[in-house]
């Protein structure tokens, strides 16, 4: 009970507390260490004395003391007197029941600062704001844990020693960095999502990613990309249960039982898509997430109305492949073309994407198998199904592909 409370406080408070401690010090590492100690103290004390009335404020107070002890030991006195005043002001606010300020957007913006190597932007955000370990971050980005840990430490040193600015940048810079923020949030969501069998901890990461997106939407009102990503996550969550049949087997979108969708969440997603579309009309910058959300909206509308507007979906993919020509998007674009134009066109677009060479790409083979099957090229289709099955990490997906192969 207490442990689960601590765990929940941890998830909800972690990023906010790191952000608050970092705001004045720029010392992400010290903030993380201090918080770590605060959570350890909570584990020791809460079971004995009960959970404090304001867990977040309690954690903050302990973290602050640990942080000050540490700073006193290793640096000059003059540096922390104004931090103390800052923390005192904060503590008196929270003791009056006010919420701690939310500096997470600033923290994310510093993680996505152009003076830091761009491939580290999203990993840094996942670690500092969502509290993921270097190992977890490495597994999300498919790199070696040791190398990732080292690069994260180096980046945090630079944030501290080089004196990066901890405040929201101007409009142009903000737009330039926002992509990295959204990608990080979506990567965290995807990491939780991929692990279907995953423990509760993983599912909570998806929830946390969505809450973070909601917080961003609160700070950056009516931004089409933020609203788009938020909607996108809601569409996925709404269909979560319907993705598996009772026996655990995989169910693709067009075969899902729509009565198992979370109708309330679909409605929320639809509202967000409409807001994103309205925001697009005024700002005019068409981006990846607004488009992906629009595509999900079109799929959902088709399923709920029993319609098949594949041409509309294909048009959206045509736009998406221009703004975000990643491998995944290009394969999905080929699939949309197959539905709207024909299997031959889809196959031609897919062949142009390539099979991934040394790192073979499962969606490529799964789609090519399906298209070859539709074109009556059965022996080739069988070969590709076998490759796709071999490349699938999820047993439910393998089972689904075996079923398609046997048709």
């Amino acid at each position: 009970m207490v442990h689960s409370l601590i765990d929940r406080s941890a998830r909800e408070a972690y990023g906010r507390l790191v952000a608050l401690l970092t705001a004045r010090t720029r010392d992400v590492e010290a903030a993380e260490d201090a918080l770590q100690e605060a959570f350890l103290a909570a584990l020791e004390q809460w079971p004995l004395v009960g959970v404090p009335r304001q867990p977040e404020a309690w954690l903050m107070a302990v973290a602050r003391r640990r942080w000050l002890d540490r700073t006193r030991k290793e640096s000059r006195m003059d540096r922390y007197s104004d931090f103390e005043a800052h923390f005192d002001a904060m503590e008196s606010e929270t003791s009056r029941g006010m919420d701690l300020p939310d500096d997470r957007l600033e923290l994310m913006m510093i993680c996505a600062h152009p003076v830091l190597e761009s491939s580290l932007h999203a990993p840094l955000i996942l670690q500092t704001v969502l509290g993921m370990t270097a190992d977890q971050v490495a597994s999300v980005f498919l790199t070696s844990p040791a190398g990732m840990a080292q690069r994260l430490v180096r980046a945090k040193r630079k944030i501290k020693l080089a004196g990066l600015r901890f405040e929201l940048p101007g409009h142009e810079q903000l737009e330039a960095r926002l992509g990295a923020l959204l990608d990080a949030v979506y990567a965290a969501f995807g990491a939780a999502w991929d692990d279907w069998t995953g423990a509760d901890g993983q599912r909570r990461l998806a929830t946390e990613a969505e809450m973070l997106c909601a917080a961003m939407a609160g700070r950056l009102p009516e931004h089409p990309e933020v609203l788009g990503l938020w909607a996108l996550m809601k569409y996925h969550e709404a269909r979560y249960a319907a993705r598996r049949a009772a026996d655990g087997s995989f169910v693709p979108l067009d075969e899902q039982d729509v009565s198992r969708w979370n109708a309330g969440m679909i409605e929320e997603a639809e509202t967000l898509v409409r807001r994103a579309a309205a925001a697009l009309k005024s700002s005019g910058r068409l981006g990846r997430y607004a488009l992906e959300a629009a595509i999900q909206s079109a799929h959902v509308t088709n399923r709920l109305n029993g319609s098949r507007d594949s041409a509309g979906i294909y048009r959206l993919y045509e736009a998406l492949v221009r703004v975000a020509p990643s491998r995944g998007v290009r394969v999905a674009h080929a699939a949309a073309a197959a539905e709207a134009v024909g299997a031959e066109t889809g196959l031609r677009l897919l062949e142009a994407v390539g099979d991934g060479g040394e790192r073979p790409y499962q969606p490529f083979y799964a789609l090519r198998a399906e298209l070859l099957y539709r074109l009556g090229r059965y022996p080739e289709a069988q070969l590709d199904y076998d490759r796709a099955i071999a490349l699938s990490t999820d047993e439910a997906v393998r089972g689904y592909l075996r079923g398609r192969k046997k048709r």
């Binding site: 003076v115 080089a162 004196g163 990066l164 600015r165 940048p169």
Partner: protein, 117 residues
């Protein structure tokens, strides 16, 4: 915070200094940049350097001092000068770096925080 702006230029840009047609514009740009730094009250020091051919490098090799004619690393760009500035943060230092004439001349400016002693 205090930062050093370390200016690196290629051989061709060092040659501009000797070119009667181009040198006035080159020196003019650096003079203007230095004035801007001074007027903003952020400059705390700095110097331009003679070309790398005038350098002498010293290090200990197998216990003996070894002298080398020229700079150590034979890279495409060499240190051409530096400014010491004091500004609120790295973002402000980067804004000054962007205005440095070296950027226009195809060189680079390395921005490094100074050690606090």
């Amino acid at each position: 915070m205090k930062y050093a702006l370390l200016i690196h230029e290629s051989e061709e840009v060092f040659a501009v200094r000797q070119d009667p047609a181009k040198a006035p514009a080159y020196w003019g740009a650096y003079t203007a940049f230095g004035q801007a730094l001074t007027e903003a009250g952020v400059m705390t020091g700095g110097a331009g350097l003679q070309p790398p051919a005038t350098a002498t490098s010293l290090r200990k090799v197998q216990g003996k001092n070894a002298i080398q004619d020229g700079p150590f690393a034979d890279t495409k760009e060499q240190l051409a000068g530096f400014y010491l500035i004091e500004v609120v943060d790295l973002d402000a230092a980067m804004e000054w770096a962007e205005r440095c004439p070296a950027i226009e001349y195809g060189g680079s400016v390395e921005v490094r925080p100074l050690l606090v002693m």
